[in-house]
């Protein structure tokens, strides 16, 4: 079924200059392979392109059930120069968590509000 990443993972964003990094951490270890397949650098670049994303690098951390996306160019010149409301890009983790992927509902954590039925 189609599920937002918010159902399968959590994460947070941080900033350094005009570069944002957003972590994506699977709630269940079993979901990591699905996320690795469905959330590519190209997908994330497309998702952040309207904010100016130029390059996205995905670092894989299976030891932490996690990925780290380094997204360049998204912060409107960075925390000190941006005209945006959220100059740090603190809210951007939830832009990634809004993305929908095809995933087996068996990968949902126990008691998930996203569980079907």
């Amino acid at each position: 079924m189609r599920l937002p990443l918010h159902a399968l993972a959590h994460g947070r964003s941080g900033d350094k200059g005009d570069v944002s990094n957003v972590s994506l951490i699977a709630w269940r270890a079993e979901a990591w392979e699905t996320l690795a397949r469905e959330v590519t650098e190209a997908d994330v670049r497309a998702l952040f392109r309207h904010l100016g994303a130029t390059r996205v690098t995905r670092h894989d951390l299976p030891n932490l059930q996690a990925f780290n996306f380094v997204i360049e160019g998204t912060l409107g010149g960075g925390v000190n120069r941006s005209l945006g409301l959220d100059r740090h890009g603190k809210t951007l983790s939830y832009l990634l968590l809004e993305m929908e992927i095809e995933a087996d509902p068996a990968l949902l954590p126990a008691g998930s509000p996203y569980a079907p039925g």
């Binding site: 947070r12 972590s23 030891n63 960075g78 005209l83 945006g84």
Partner: protein
């Protein structure tokens, strides 16, 4: 076996002033070397402090020094907890003198305070020499008037400042993680050449430096990531063993939560390549890190690996960068979105007629994720009736021009769409930053100790 306990009392210069209380109370019930770090030095804070120091050479430490230390200095000293902080900002020695005065005013027993200086490149370099250093980023702003240029000192001089026996150590610009690794070098006698130990201490500092961000704050998401009593979220305490393994917990009797989820988010916070987090002490690699949850609200970490640090030190250069003007106005009720949209068009039209390029957002309609793009906002199919807030922002070299964003939003009261209200706005001076690289031999850390009798001596 000695275990070192390090708590955090503040994670940024606007953090809660009372957060350190429960941390000190908890540390007071423990044994062995115990430290409390306050991380309060943003780039902008340092730039403003440099300006204050230029106006008055006796000042230039953090304006929050008294707010953070006055309530906690006495309890920390009574509990045997030593304090390490970058509240020294542009003037660590001035800050150390202020802490001595504060201790006297509070009637505390005489103490030893150390100041670590030497990070300020403008003491040894002309502005032209600073601009000629190899540039990492921000080349486009480096010609603008310089406000500050500070190299990131590592943990070694922080450890040396603690080795003087000082109960309180004030620093200026060091890496944030040095506020934890410095105490570990001092208390455990770690060899700076032992890169895995340097990595473990850097990781401890990285996890502690943002305060409650590792204990359930910047995390809570009701129904998905529930956090007990976030209003009283506990600040973190790390216990580090001589072998570099550590357990992260939080102050007893507080809210918040510490588990694999909160700790993993903070491990990756503001990290780029997880195999190469660069500091002057080591290159930290977290790709083989192992996490365990031995008990509730405690996470054990092992497997931090260290590689050789970069050959150069990073320095941040702050420059004047003009002004930002921003203002907002609300529209609510029937057809609110269309009225907000019209207000944004009116302000945009009038500012563009003056050859200005404002950002225009509708707060409540995706302003955080769609930044200044009304076409995308329209495409969201938002309810026409609701509660929306139009925001205009403008950058300009001078305050008067930046203030036009505020003036045009304010004018909507009488000259805009129906029923606009709640205008707020203002102008703020802007500080831009660039990063440059400096050879370690060009930066000389300098430690001054103020003894219990008030005498000052270099260490």
């Amino acid at each position: 076996m000695t275990t070192v306990h390090i708590g955090c009392g503040a994670g940024f210069s606007g953090d809660r002033f009372d957060a350190a209380g429960p941390v000190i109370a908890d540390l007071g019930r423990r044994h062995g070397p115990r430290f409390l770090m306050f991380e309060c030095l943003a780039e902008r804070t340092l730039a403003l402090a440099q300006g204050e120091k230029r106006r008055d050479p006796g000042r230039g430490w953090s304006p929050f020094l008294d707010r953070y230390l006055a309530p906690h200095l006495g309890p920390a000293l009574a509990a045997g907890v030593r304090i390490v902080s970058n509240l020294g900002a542009a003037n660590p020695l001035g800050a150390a003198r202020r802490v001595q005065a504060l201790a006297r005013e509070l009637g505390l027993p005489p103490i030893r305070v150390a100041a670590l200086e030497g990070d300020d490149l403008r003491e040894t370099h002309s502005d032209a020499e600073i601009r000629a250093l190899p540039i990492l980023d921000g080349a486009e702003v480096l010609h603008q008037p310089l406000l500050a240029a500070n190299a990131y000192l590592g943990a070694r001089p922080v450890g040396a400042a603690l080795a003087t026996g000082a109960e309180v150590v004030l620093v200026g610009r060091t890496t944030d993680s040095a506020l934890a690794l410095g105490p570990l070098i001092d208390a455990l006698g770690w060899d700076p050449a032992d890169l895995d130990r340097m990595a473990a201490g850097t990781l401890a500092g990285h996890l502690l430096e943002c305060g409650a961000q590792v204990t359930g704050a910047y995390f809570a998401d009701p129904g998905f990531k529930d956090v007990p009593d976030l209003a009283h979220v506990g600040f973190p305490i790390a216990e580090i063993a001589p072998d570099g393994t550590m357990t992260l917990g939080k102050a007893a009797g507080t809210g918040g939560r510490v588990d694999r989820a909160t700790v993993t988010e903070q491990i990756l916070y503001e990290m780029h390549d997880p195999a190469a987090y660069l500091t002057p002490d080591c290159t930290l690699d977290v790709t083989a890190l192992h996490l365990a949850e031995p008990e509730t609200d405690r996470v054990a970490l092992s497997g931090a690996r260290g590689h050789a640090p970069p050959e150069t030190l990073k320095a941040t250069v702050c420059v004047e960068d003009g002004w930002l003007g921003e203002a907002e106005i609300s529209y609510a009720g029937p057809n609110a979105y269309a009225r907000a949209r019209l207000a944004a068009e009116v302000v945009g039209t009038r500012l563009r007629e003056r050859n200005l390029a404002p950002a225009l957002d509708i707060v409540g309609a995706g302003a955080s994720h769609d930044r200044g793009d009304l076409a995308r906002t329209d495409a969201r199919g938002l309810p026409g009736n609701g509660d929306y807030r139009v925001r205009a922002a403008l950058r300009a070299p001078d305050r008067e021009t930046a203030a036009l964003a505020v003036e045009e939003i304010t004018a909507l009261y009488c000259s805009g769409p129906a029923a606009g209200g709640g205008v707020r706005g203002g102008t703020t001076p802007q500080v831009a930053t660039a990063s440059v690289l400096v050879r370690p031999e060009a930066v000389t850390p300098r430690i001054t100790v103020i003894g219990p009798d008030g005498t000052e001596a270099p260490a």
